[in-house]
């Protein structure tokens, strides 16, 4: 298990024309071990960049990232599951891909695969290729591929944004269950306020770009949360609060 904290993160991209684009601005954030943090903010504010910096694929221009364990195993779920899966491998082989490249024996792979596919929210034909899977099935395969390496931190970039409503709900409930059972630290970028509140131990509200943390809102609703909680009074109160902050922030940035 690993938590993380980032301190004063800034990211500046330079265009080929030499123009500087500031994406993250002095962003500080801490995520405790096993905590489920959802990141919510305006479109294009730099949420995905933040995940890429945490993953180490994008270098921060300044600031530091510290994990509580050394060199933790990270999982990453891409928004675009179609291009993240290997279309030449079956669903099963996609899930087992990281184990297979790590040289783990077929017997062990089969055992871990068997363990990870119990209690899934939707049915999957494991011999099917990704192009025969629905969006929900493909994204589930993609998540399982990251879970099978038993990550300490799982970074998710709007993973359910392309799914239909019902599948989306099933996936939310399942992901909460995974987080509770495995105590994986989760950083989940979302542009759906309901999703962010339902999943999060805290919702981190980012400002319009260049992004920094506007506010952290703790969601102290008891777990496991049922899907019907989204219709409850306590849920609505929190949603109204976050929405008001969000609108105020977006309005201020528009009027500048």
């Amino acid at each position: 298990m690993a938590g993380l904290s980032c301190n004063g993160l800034s990211v500046v991209f330079t265009t080929p024309a030499g123009r500087e684009i500031r994406v993250l601005q002095d962003l500080s954030l801490s995520v405790a071990e096993g905590e489920f943090v959802t990141i919510f903010g305006p479109n294009g504010c730099g949420k995905s960049t933040l995940l890429n910096v945490l993953l180490g694929h994008t270098k921060a221009t300044s600031g530091t990232i510290t994990f509580t364990t050394q060199d933790p195993r990270l999982g990453y779920i891409f928004q675009d599951y179609r291009s993240a899966l290997m279309p030449w491998l079956t669903a099963r082989d996609n899930v087992c891909f990281p184990l297979s490249v790590a040289g783990i024996s077929e017997v062990d792979i089969q055992e871990r695969f068997g363990a990870i596919i119990t209690g899934l929210p939707i049915h999957i034909n494991w011999l099917a290729y990704p192009y025969h899977l629905s969006g929900g099935q493909a994204q589930l395969v993609s998540i399982l591929r990251s879970l099978i390496i038993e990550p300490e931190v799982l970074l998710l970039d709007e993973p359910f944004s392309a799914l239909d409503y019902q599948t989306n709900l099933y996936m939310l409930r399942w992901l909460q269950q995974i987080s509770m059972e495995r105590r994986v630290t989760m950083v989940f970028v979302s542009h759906q306020i309901d999703e962010a509140i339902f999943l999060g131990d805290k919702v981190v509200l980012l400002t319009p770009g260049p992004a920094t943390v506007s506010e952290e809102i703790r969601i102290d609703l008891q777990r496991p949360r049922g899907l019907s909680i989204m219709g409850s009074e306590s849920f609505r109160e929190r949603k109204e609060y976050i929405l008001a902050r969000f609108l105020k922030m977006v309005h201020e940035s528009d009027s500048v």
């Binding site: 993953l55 694929h57 990270l74 999982g75 990453y76 891409f78 675009d80 291009s83 993240a84 290997m86 279309p87 030449w88 891909f97 990281p98 490249v101 790590a102 290729y129 990704p130 192009y131 990251s146 390496i149």
Partner: protein
């Protein structure tokens, strides 16, 4: 009933034109409106074709042409695919080679024919070299493009699961590039067949389909000339459709 009707319709849609052309050919021959030197009758052509096969006369030509084709195309594949992939991996190599490759591809190989005579003499090596040169540029270019335009997301997946450079190439890049590589192989296949026949006509040989066509033309043996064209057409058709059916099975994910 509907399914049977569907297949019948599909068959008729594909068959009416070839059958119609043969019937038209037969009627035109029977009407004697066209000189048999320009268009021999269908029955004369077919009996010339049967004669070529029954007497075994054509087999030494087929064998010689097939030898040049297989060796010339084989060298192009063995050299072109690895070289193309290497060029595709490095953006610097890609940019350095781009002009030369496009130049080589765009220049008709037949224009080089006197040069090949000087370099390789009048026997098999010059014909094989023509086939190789005609095929190799297309194979290199497509292999390079396949690697160069491999999915960036899947490359990141490779980073995520900490694949070594070699692993990333063998487990991801190669497969990503394969559909485009095969496009090159298929295009080069048709071209290689053309160039074998042309080189035999231009350079001359004892045995070879191109030479036999030229001989038939020289002695004004129109039925044999037409029969040879039909035979070469049938070979080309089956070569290509055989390739496509293997391609569909191997690269099952193409087009998704």
């Amino acid at each position: 009933m509907t399914i049977r009707w569907y297949y019948l319709r599909e068959f008729l849609l594909r068959a009416w034109l070839p059958v119609g052309l043969l019937v038209g050919w037969h009627l035109l021959g029977a009407s004697q409106w066209v000189s048999p030197l320009l268009l021999p009758s269908l029955s004369d052509t077919l009996s010339a074709g049967v004669g070529l096969i029954a007497s075994g006369a054509i087999f030494s030509d087929l064998q010689s042409s097939a030898y040049r084709f297989v060796v010339g195309y084989g060298i192009a594949v063995i050299v072109g695919v690895p070289l193309g992939m290497l060029i595709g991996i490095h953006p610097v190599l890609h940019k350095s080679f781009e002009f030369v490759l496009e130049f080589g591809r765009a220049t008709p190989v037949t224009a080089f024919f006197p040069l090949f005579l000087l370099l390789f003499g009048i026997h098999d090596p010059s014909k094989i070299a023509m086939v190789t040169v005609a095929s190799v540029f297309i194979i290199i270019l497509n292999s390079a493009y396949g690697v160069y335009y491999a999915s960036r997301t899947r490359q990141r997946v490779g980073d995520l699961f900490r694949l070594s450079r070699l692993q990333r190439f063998v487990r991801i890049t190669f497969w990503d590039a394969l559909p485009q590589i095969v496009v090159g192989l298929r295009t080069a296949l048709s071209l290689a067949l053309i160039v074998v026949v042309v080189s035999e006509m231009l350079i001359g040989t004892e045995h070879g389909l191109g030479q036999r066509i030229f001989d038939a033309y020289t002695v004004s043996n129109s039925p044999e000339l037409y029969a040879l064209l039909l035979i070469i057409g049938v070979i080309g058709y089956f070569l290509n459709s055989g390739f496509v059916s293997v391609e569909k099975r191997v690269i099952h994910w193409k087009g998704y």
